[in-house]
Symmetry: C2
Subunit: 243 residues, 2 copies
């Protein structure tokens, strides 16, 4: 049995997220169908991140074990030949048996806000449009309160489960460039909708509804109702995974 690692890119617009769901198109399901054809074998796929419905990936990492003898170079080509245009395999390689894509050290996500008086028709599926000017300096200052390990209950779409909500944000940055505000968040892991709620909260800071010190209080209060809105999935993209 070889352990094979895949580097994947996808436009998540058409998919109900990564995770297989019966009767709905998912990224993992779409890949599995093609892999089973190529390998002539039933496999299971492990991934670094279970991206939500509509979320994109420029770099998703997955792996699977197989007894099929196909060379990895041919595997990549065969897979891209069968996949729809919105999912691409950028690389396939044999990795040590113990590698599991799930156990990443960190993941980096980017949330993209189109911040200009006009929409741009070519990035509608990949950004959230906010026409009034945002103060990226205030957004960045606010974001720094989220750095480090914290209980992120205030930034979690809760279904009320009692789980450990401590995550460690290793890097966070807000950059304004060419009509866009980019929010980059790298953490050891993320709660449900965490980046989208962080983005919605920083957006409120950028338009002056929250001050940077409010962000500190929202975090400490651990109450989802105090944070900003959950921004739409289409602005979110998985950018990098570290092992």
């Amino acid at each position: 049995m070889r352990n094979i690692k895949l580097i994947l890119q996808y436009d998540g617009s058409r998919y109900h997220g990564w995770q297989v769901q019966p009767g709905r198109p998912t990224v993992c399901g779409t890949l599995l169908r093609r892999l089973r054809i190529i390998l002539n074998e039933d496999i299971s796929l492990s991934a670094s991140s279970r991206t939500d419905s509509g979320v994109h990936a420029r770099c998703q990492v997955a792996n699977f074990k197989t007894a099929a003898p196909i060379p990895v170079k041919n595997l990549r080509r065969a897979l891209n030949g069968l996949l729809p245009d919105d999912i691409v395999c950028r690389g396939a390689s044999v990795v040590p048996d113990k590698f599991n894509a799930r156990f990443a050290v960190s993941r980096r996500y980017r949330y993209t806000i189109r911040n200009s008086s006009c929409k741009y028709p070519f990035d509608i599926p990949y950004s959230y449009f906010h026409p009034r000017a945002l103060d990226a300096g205030l957004m960045k200052e606010s974001s720094l309160h989220l750095l480090g390990p914290h209980d992120f209950s205030a930034f979690h779409s809760s279904a009320g489960e009692k789980i450990n909500r401590v995550r460690n944000i290793i890097n966070i940055d807000v950059v304004k460039r060419g009509g866009y505000v980019y929010i980059d968040v790298e953490a050891d892991g993320f709660l449900t909708h965490m980046v989208r709620i962080i983005a919605g909260t920083l957006l409120e800071a950028g338009r002056g509804r929250f001050s940077p010190s409010d962000i500190k209080k929202i975090l400490a209060g651990r109450d989802r109702r105090n944070a900003g809105p959950t921004l739409p999935a289409r602005g979110l993209c998985l950018m990098r995974v570290k092992y």
Copy 2:
């Protein structure tokens, strides 16, 4: 009556081109419906270029005459409020009565080829994918034979009409950058599918099927069958219009 000029951007994927066609979604038809609501008046719209089905525009110029008193600033806002996400009005201004968007001095189009071993899932609607390496130097050298006024019958999707097929290419350039080859063509006007056939012919040059001097012969021969294929509409975008 005021004469109002509009600067428009659109993702042409969903539209059967600029020109109104009964029963089909078109860019002009979509705009006219909204303008008639806003102005409460029946107007007609003149444009710099009748972009084909599936072709995009980063800068299309149009104009119309109206007796409605709405300030142009409000017009832009009202129009963007009613338009679907894939058409955006970037500007509206009052221009001299004699201005007609049709009578541009030149139009510049860009054809985008994704030239990399892998597709990129985020640009599928805006580029043509060619996986084998293209020699952009050869493409550029070939393109220079097309500069100036010529009979472009070889680069025309003919329905056999007898028309004047002389057009003047003012600028042409081929640039390879970051996994893309961009073909930019500025001319006083274009024949049907002219840029897409030029792009298909230069692509053949880039992969060694045509030499630069072949391009000269193809042009002189005025026979569509000698040129390269018509590349798909999705890679084509109207970039700039000069008056």
